[in-house]
């Protein structure tokens, strides 16, 4: 690709683009001067918000400043996206593997799932589930209850209610036990890895890690006098008391974005596994590997390289899609900033600039991770 643009074209284009930007900019400045008579300024971020937020991970009242409201929104966005991406990855992997099943029906059910959820607008899905299903759930008094005496989960049109623990006196001791368990698990995992490197046979490190963590958690819980006091939700008059609640908006948004993203992830997982050449499996079989080891040592390491890059971009997409929460009143970052704050203050240019910058930062960080990953893979190729 040498000498692609002639120099005259190059300079005229440059001039043109400068001129056009200047044109747009000067239009904006005049418009702002004549119409609104408010200069661009970000001081309003320190004004009091003047609205309350139901869904908040940190304390927030209407006297808090606007920038804190934005932070609340950002945290809500992360709350949905982080849980959602994890769940969607699990579900998507499951469906992707189903799609590859040699069982005709299983494979076709997965195919239908992927096909349906990729070809329906996610916003429609969201509104459908929220308006036509979730809001039609019974009232609190007639809530649907699962696993009643042991682990009661109430589902009603006001949210999802489930048992939750509140720390008791022994909680502080229990915390130390958990920490110790974690340290132990890390230590054992490290030693196992070293051992694996020395002998050449890598044990199932993450399995051991999980088992140790689980055992310590359970043991500590049994030994101590109840570090958490479990409160179960129960119907009291017109309300459900006790336990914890997930708002209908939160789990509506989570549910829809997860089933939607899982369809894409399933395709990525399927493509990743299929991308590993048939000969790889055959060569491994010819060398006498067991089918578990073929999967663990030969197929998965190669498939993961193909799956991770699209997975990261779906994760970015998921985070961007949380902005659909606006449609059902979930107060994510976009709904708060582009909705509430923009309406209350009328500061269009400022709020939209902040929105662009925030989303841009998120995607830039994600692409950075992606690039790092790709570079690492390049190195080992």
């Amino acid at each position: 690709m040498s000498a692609f643009y002639g120099s005259s074209i190059r300079s005229s284009w440059w001039l043109w683009s400068r001129l056009s930007w200047f044109f747009l900019y000067s239009n904006m400045v005049t418009a702002l001067r004549t119409q609104k008579e408010v200069p661009i300024s970000y001081d309003f971020l320190h004004d009091t918000a003047g609205f309350n937020l139901g869904e908040s991970a940190i304390a927030f009242t209407c006297t808090d400043p606007i920038h804190r409201a934005m932070l609340v929104g950002l945290l809500n966005t992360f709350k949905v996206s982080i849980t959602g991406i994890a769940l969607a990855t699990l579900l998507g992997t499951f469906i992707g593997v189903m799609r590859l099943s040699t069982n005709f029906l299983v494979s076709k059910i997965a195919w239908a799932y992927i096909n349906v959820f990729r070809n329906i607008p996610p916003l429609l899905l969201l509104i459908f589930w929220y308006r036509a299903v979730f809001l039609k759930l019974p009232r609190v008094q007639e809530a649907i209850v699962f696993f009643d005496p042991v682990f009661p989960i109430y589902i009603a049109n006001r949210g999802l209610f489930f048992p939750w623990g509140t720390p008791t006196e022994s909680w502080s001791t229990y915390r130390w036990i958990l920490l110790a368990g974690f340290v132990l698990a890390v230590f054992v995992a490290y030693r196992l890895r070293q051992h694996g490197k020395r002998t050449g046979r890598m044990p199932l490190v993450s399995l051991w890690f999980a088992v140790i963590l689980l055992v310590v958690t359970l043991l500590g819980y049994v030994i101590l006098p109840d570090p958490l006091e479990i409160t179960k939700p129960a119907l009291k008059g017109f309300n459900i008391r006790g336990g914890a609640t997930l708002s209908l908006e939160f789990w509506g948004l989570l549910f829809v974005l997860v089933i939607y993203a899982a369809a894409y992830i399933a395709e990525a997982v399927r493509a990743g596994i299929l991308s590993v050449d048939r000969g790889q499996r055959e060569a491994a079989r010819a060398l006498g590997f067991s089918s578990f080891n073929i999967m663990r040592l030969i197929i998965l390491p190669q498939a993961i390289r193909v799956v991770v890059p699209p997975l990261i971009s779906y994760a970015i997409g998921f985070t961007k899609n949380t902005s659909l929460g606006l449609a059902i009143g979930y107060t994510d970052f976009f709904a708060i900033t582009g909705g509430l704050i923009l309406n209350n203050t009328g500061r269009a240019v400022e709020t939209l600039t902040i929105i662009l910058l925030v989303y841009l930062t998120i995607s830039l960080i994600a692409s950075l991770i992606l690039n790092m990953y790709n570079r690492r893979i390049m190195l080992s190729h």
Partner: protein
């Protein structure tokens, strides 16, 4: 290690029985697993092992209950009058009924253009192209189409066939020219038809775009978005690989910023801020046009990446050959490289179009009455309280049918015409 063989000639020749040579003709044994092929298929694909059988049974149970639930809902619980009563609004929004003939006229034209294009780009008719050509007829046969719609759909079909036949008179090259020119002109003509240009009592009174809605608006937004973003995307893609750092930085920034933020924020910006970038002297742009511009600007960034992918797929030898033949930089791009690159990316553009069609539902959030927006509007009418399931399922079905049929058609065309591949691969 083992001993070396001392000497090749000293190797022991083992007197082994020579394998019996059987004659292939007389040795036609039946397949090991004979019997009913259907039964065998079932055994191999559904009950090949215990685990497999368990999976099959679980799947069957799941399908049974899901189907029963769905069928029960569709035939017993759902009240479909909300759809049949509102089908016109769902299709065209608040577009005045006495002016609907203009939409139909536009669709006749569309039929003609499809006919011309099928004749121009296809050597012979195959099943796929016939299926595409017969869409109006298929629609006319659908159960809930009104008398009026049926007649119009049949007219479209006739126009399409007539255009196909008339185009046959022309030579190969002329056909393609005609097809290209007509296709490019179509969108402006159609918009002009919709918008109207005479005063109140003229033949085509102005219909403000605020009144456009329903499926009409959704498809229009997606189409306009794809068509206008293509040139913009090409410019951005070329700019991105420009050797002038300022230009490439500008293009990269634009592409990455737009791709990094959600569509809804671009729509908000378009709705609120586009006005700010326009000269004060011009009248305010109306909402539909603002949204169209926002969608175009949004799609352009994605289109730029698609075009870039196409450009990257062109082997370097093509550039070298073009320069060696004396083409200038820009000319080689226009005549040699871009046509190949665009041909490769046609399927990707189609899937971008499908994605965009699904994404246009977001315009309901900025107050436009696209298919979803109209659905919401219908549901806010107290007469139709509690019919949300029916309305949303119907809308979802329309999107699903549009999206899957387009994806299917694109796949078939890819196979039949070899678009989406390099020339040398497709031959």
């Amino acid at each position: 290690m083992r001993l070396l063989r001392p000497n090749l000639t000293l190797r022991r020749r083992m007197a082994l029985p020579v394998a019996p040579v059987t004659d292939p003709q007389t040795n036609v044994l039946p397949p090991a697993r004979e019997g009913n092929t259907a039964l065998r298929w079932i055994k191999e694909n559904l009950f090949s092992s215990l685990f497999d059988s368990v999976l099959t049974i679980i799947s069957l149970l799941f399908l049974f209950f899901a189907l029963r639930l769905a069928l029960d809902w569709v035939f017993n619980l759902a009240q479909w009058d909300v759809i049949t009563e509102n089908i016109n609004i769902l299709m065209k929004g608040a577009y005045p009924s006495d002016q609907v003939w203009r939409i139909w006229l536009g669709l006749y034209l569309l039929g003609a253009i499809v006919g011309i294009n099928l004749r121009a780009w296809n050597r012979e008719l195959n099943r796929t192209t016939i299926a595409i050509a017969a869409i109006p007829l298929i629609l006319a046969l659908l159960p809930f189409a009104s008398e009026n719609a049926r007649i119009n759909l049949i007219i479209i079909q006739v126009t399409s066939a007539a255009a196909y036949l008339l185009t046959s008179i022309l030579g190969d090259k002329r056909r393609r020219q005609l097809a290209a020119v007509m296709s490019i002109l179509y969108i402006p003509v159609f918009i002009l038809l919709l918008e109207g240009f005479t005063d109140e009592d003229g033949i085509m009174p102005l219909v403000k775009s605020d009144l456009w809605g329903g499926l009409l608006l959704s498809v229009l937004l997606a189409t306009v978005g794809i068509i206008f973003s293509l040139p913009l995307g090409i410019v951005l893609a070329l700019g991105r690989r420009s050797r002038q750092p300022a230009i490439s930085a500008l293009c990269i920034t634009y592409i990455e910023v737009v791709r990094g933020v959600p569509l809804i924020s671009i729509l908000f910006m378009g709705n609120i801020m586009l006005q700010l970038f326009m000269p004060q002297s011009l009248p305010p742009i109306d909402r539909v046009v603002r949204v169209m511009m926002a969608i175009t600007l949004f799609t352009a960034a994605y289109m730029a990446e698609i075009v870039r992918g196409g450009l990257q797929a062109i082997p370097k030898g093509q550039y070298d050959a073009a320069y060696a033949l004396g083409f200038s930089g820009l000319k080689s791009m226009r005549v040699i490289i871009l046509p190949q690159a665009l041909r490769i990316v046609i399927p990707v553009i189609v899937s971008q179009f499908i994605g965009l069609l699904l994404d246009t539902t977001l315009v309901a959030l900025v107050g436009l009455f696209d298919l979803l927006g109209i659905g919401q509007a219908i549901l806010s009418n107290p007469n139709w309280l509690g019919r949300s399931q029916e309305v949303y399922v119907f809308i979802g079905l329309i999107y699903w049918i549009l999206a899957t049929s387009m994806a299917f058609a694109s796949q078939r065309l890819e196979k039949n015409l070899g678009v989406g591949r390099n020339y040398d691969e497709s031959q």
